[in-house]
Amino acid sequence: MKYLNLVVTGLTGLLLILGSLGMPETGDPQSPASLHVSPRYIEQGLEETIVPNMVTAVLADYRSFDTLGEATVIFTGALTVLLILRTGRKDEAEDS
């Protein structure tokens, strides 16, 4: 009964490895991840936005709405820590 956790972890790992044997090889230029919209970002990114860094061009221009959502997530995380840990008691020696 102590080793139930190890058995379940090993079974899950074995199933995942068997599932990943069907994926395309690493470094294949014809894999489906680099075929549909990514060549358009690489080839026409420099002439539409005059920015040589493709990662920043995709992050801040083509998909800037997702970056706005992500900035909101980090803002909410900091706000949550503030709400949990600052109780406003009078015996905390903190000045703001």
């Binding site: 956790n5 190890l6 379940v8 972890t9 090993g10 899950t12 790992g13 995942l16 490895i17 990943s20 044997l21 994926m23 090889e25 690493t26 470094g27 294949d28 230029p29 894999s31 991840a33 680099s34 919209v37 990514s38 060549p39 970002y41 690489i42 080839e43 990114g45 420099l46 002439e47 040589p52 860094n53 493709m54 990662v55 995709v58 992050l59 998909r63 997702d66 970056t67 992500e70 997530v73 980090i74 909410t76 995380g77 900091a78 949550t80 820590v81 949990i84 840990l85």
Partner: protein, 130 residues
């Protein structure tokens, strides 16, 4: 056969790292070890997805020679590594920072209230204090 092993061994490595994190999350009883296991799990997934973006003979996704003469260089898609998984995982890394911060602040409040961070002692104290 050797090409098959070389082409797939990094998937096996990241799955082993993921299972180490999974065992730490479910098998240990200390709450701090569970938070560390969650972190390991998350980072193994980020590294796995970034490794899907590799291309043989490709360089980093910054256009070469764009500052030399002012004209536009010739760009072919097979020269550069796929930038799209890098972009998506940038967001995932920063979300991981926020999640770890909130988890650690919850651990601080639990320790102040109950005085222990072991899971079985915590369940006894919760049951006897209600």
């Amino acid at each position: 056969m050797l090409e098959f092993v070389i082409g797939h061994f990094n998937n096996v490595t990241y799955i082993i790292l993921m299972m180490i994190g999974f065992h730490a999350m479910t098998g240990k009883t200390n709450l701090v070890k569970k938070v560390v296991g969650m972190n390991i799990f998350q980072w193994s997934i980020i590294l796995f997805i970034v490794s899907l973006a590799a291309k043989r003979g490709g360089t980093i996704p910054i256009v070469l020679g764009s500052h030399d003469h002012g004209g536009s260089p010739v760009i072919r898609a097979a020269q550069y590594v796929n930038p799209l998984p890098h972009v998506l995982m940038l967001t995932a890394i920063v979300v991981g920072l926020a999640t770890t911060g909130v988890a650690l602040s919850l651990l601080l409040r639990i320790y102040k209230r109950y005085g222990t961070l072991e899971e079985d002692e915590l369940f006894e104290k919760i049951e006897t204090s209600e």
